[in-house]
């Protein structure tokens, strides 16, 4: 007989943590995946200078002079091609060039006015032709070129990716762990002990929080170092939002896995739950692009609220009080799902 009492919550949390840490592939993917994803997307959507303006001149009388005039006055951004007439029209139609400059008196510009780049090309070409014809600028205009951290796509993206990860780890981590324990009849074995069910579920959540914290820190540090993402909010506020989000999604994960008997079953359910939020909740693009009629529903999704709160705190430097409403939505999801999961949980 021994006197020392162990804490069941601590032992259960250790179990979950060890099972995860001792699975090297899982560790690799949890930490590497978000970083690889943000790196890839960050590079793909890195703020680039706008494309050159491409225009074509159908070959024929006057084409060479026209090209010389545009090259001389259009600046570095204007790219002029002299093409066989049919080819030139074809390129205009397929978007290969933005506008045709047809020689003659007067010179004719042919373009599709609904295309933004064609409109720009019209301004650039018209101005170059006027200058070639002898127009002089009457005023000098100064310029300052800036790229403001905080307003770039990557700044929008990183908090969204964090939100997506918090959701993913909550659901996958808990869903798989629970269903495989159920399949292995381990849940039934625990049911035969005096273990408190709430301890069991809390342990699943706690061990997730441990990893999530590490995961979030690694992504934020990476994004800050590589993309100079501004971190304007206080670290405590960010940590608060992350922890609340993680806890809530752990609740969602518990609910999704509360009755599934097989890994296949739970995978399907999890995709069903996550897919709409990947698309609607403002991970890759703002939810404000959806029709106004559906926006109220989108804003009630837990990931939408979490992403908005993360952006507000990280990028705009909001305080926790400033995002209280959003956090309320997130917390409500957590409480409700945890409660329902506890009620309908299948131990056999």
């Amino acid at each position: 007989m021994t006197g020392d009492r162990l804490s069941p919550l601590w032992q259960l949390t250790l179990w979950r943590t060890r099972e995860f840490l001792r699975e090297p592939e899982a560790v690799f993917w949890v930490f590497a995946f978000p970083i690889i994803l943000s790196l890839a997307l960050g590079i793909a959507f890195k703020n680039r200078a706008p494309d050159n303006v491409k225009v074509a001149i159908p070959a024929g009388a006057g084409a060479a002079e026209l090209k010389a005039a545009l090259d001389a006055n259009g600046g570095k951004k204007l790219e002029t091609l002299v093409l066989d007439s049919a080819e030139a029209y074809n390129r205009l139609r397929t978007g290969g060039v933005s506008l045709l400059v047809i020689p003659g008196e007067p010179v004719t510009l042919r373009y599709d006015s609904t295309r933004q780049e064609s409109d720009i090309a019209r301004l650039v070409v018209a101005s170059a032709l006027q200058e070639a014809g002898g127009r002089r600028d009457v005023r000098t205009i100064g310029e300052v070129r800036v790229t403001e951290p905080g307003s770039r796509y990557i700044d929008f993206l990183i908090p969204g990716l964090l939100g997506m990860n918090i959701m993913g780890t909550g659901l996958w981590g808990i869903g798989f762990g629970l269903v495989s324990a159920r399949q292995r009849k381990l849940l039934k074995r625990f049911l035969a002990t005096p273990m408190r069910k709430s301890n069991f579920m809390l342990a699943f959540m706690l061990s997730r929080l441990v990893f999530l914290t590490l995961e979030v820190v690694s992504v934020v540090v990476f994004a800050w170092a590589v993309f100079s993402i501004p971190v304007r909010g206080s670290v405590l506020a960010i940590a608060g939002v992350v922890l609340l989000g993680a806890t809530s999604f752990a609740g969602v994960g518990l609910l999704v896995a509360s009755r599934a008997r097989t890994i296949e079953g739970v995978s399907g359910l999890m995709n069903l739950v996550m897919m709409p939020m990947w698309i609607c909740s403002g991970v890759f693009f703002s939810w404000s692009r959806f029709p106004e009629a559906v926006q109220p529903f989108i804003r009630l999704l837990p990931l939408t609220a979490l992403n908005d709160a993360l952006r507000a705190v990280m990028i705009d430097g909001e305080s926790l009080v400033g995002v209280a409403g959003l956090l309320g939505v997130v917390a409500t999801w957590g409480l409700v799902t945890f409660g329902v999961a506890f009620k309908i949980f299948r131990w056999n």
């Binding site: 021994t2 032992q11 250790l14 099972e19 381990l186 074995r189 002990t193």
Partner: protein, 309 residues
Amino acid sequence: MSPPAVSCHGLIKRYDKVVAVDGLDLEVAAGECFGMLGPNGAGKTTTVEMIQGLIPPDGGTVQLFGLPWEGNEADLRQRLGTALQETKLPEKLSVIETLRLFRSFYRKSVSEETVLELVQLQEKRDSWVNKLSGGQRQRLAVACALVCDPDILFLDEPTTGLDPQSRRQLWDVINQFRSRGGTVVLTTHYMEEAEQLCDRVGVVDHGKMIALGSPKQLIAGLGAEHVVDFAVAGEAVLGDAELSALPGVTRVHHEDGHTRLTVQRVHQTLPALMALVGGRNIQLAELTTHHATLEDVFMSLTGRHLRDG
């Protein structure tokens, strides 16, 4: 007198089409070792899991130590150790970590090292569960059952798949547990195990208890102590009437070309059998005799082998 460790009445469990347990009654006294014997699908696991409050019965009552599950779950769980038939323990925990996890659930417990020694797994103390052999895993499962120093131990086929030596080791563990006053309920397919370990045995078939008693009583119930098993060469046939008429034969049973005679005394029956065979010029292809076992009891009750479904 203390209440029985297990007492259940009219236990019923139905699954879609099958009645897994069909009105089963059972009492196990405190300190007793009770064995449940039966072929695959007989309803043994369903019964012991209902007794342990893991599957809700569709009918009937269960009490442990005179207490129903309802209202006493927290208390009863503290006193119960179990190794379920199908549980796979966490793969990535070491043996000692697994024991510590299970110990943490109980108010009263035995140290991990003590139970490790009991099941002789000391040298695997720090190995991960997924590195253990099947037999070692089973011993660990029993260790997890013992770590709470239980009053009653449920073991569902604890020795299936073990080599003879490990099986004997586990019998020792069970006997040690009993010597401290513990109650054991186990299920098994092994007659030898039931005869060695159990004070009483219940034979279960199709969800019903078809025989109950000490191994000796059950075998005595056959009305004979020995079995003569033979096969004749060629097409020859010996009639049941002739065989039954041989001295001391209480039962004749044919199976797979073999004939089994349940007899009281081999030394009386065998010469008569040889005379009968010799007189008819029949050759024997095989002839064996053995002491009647629980297997023979089961066959005489159901006409089937225990190992068949």
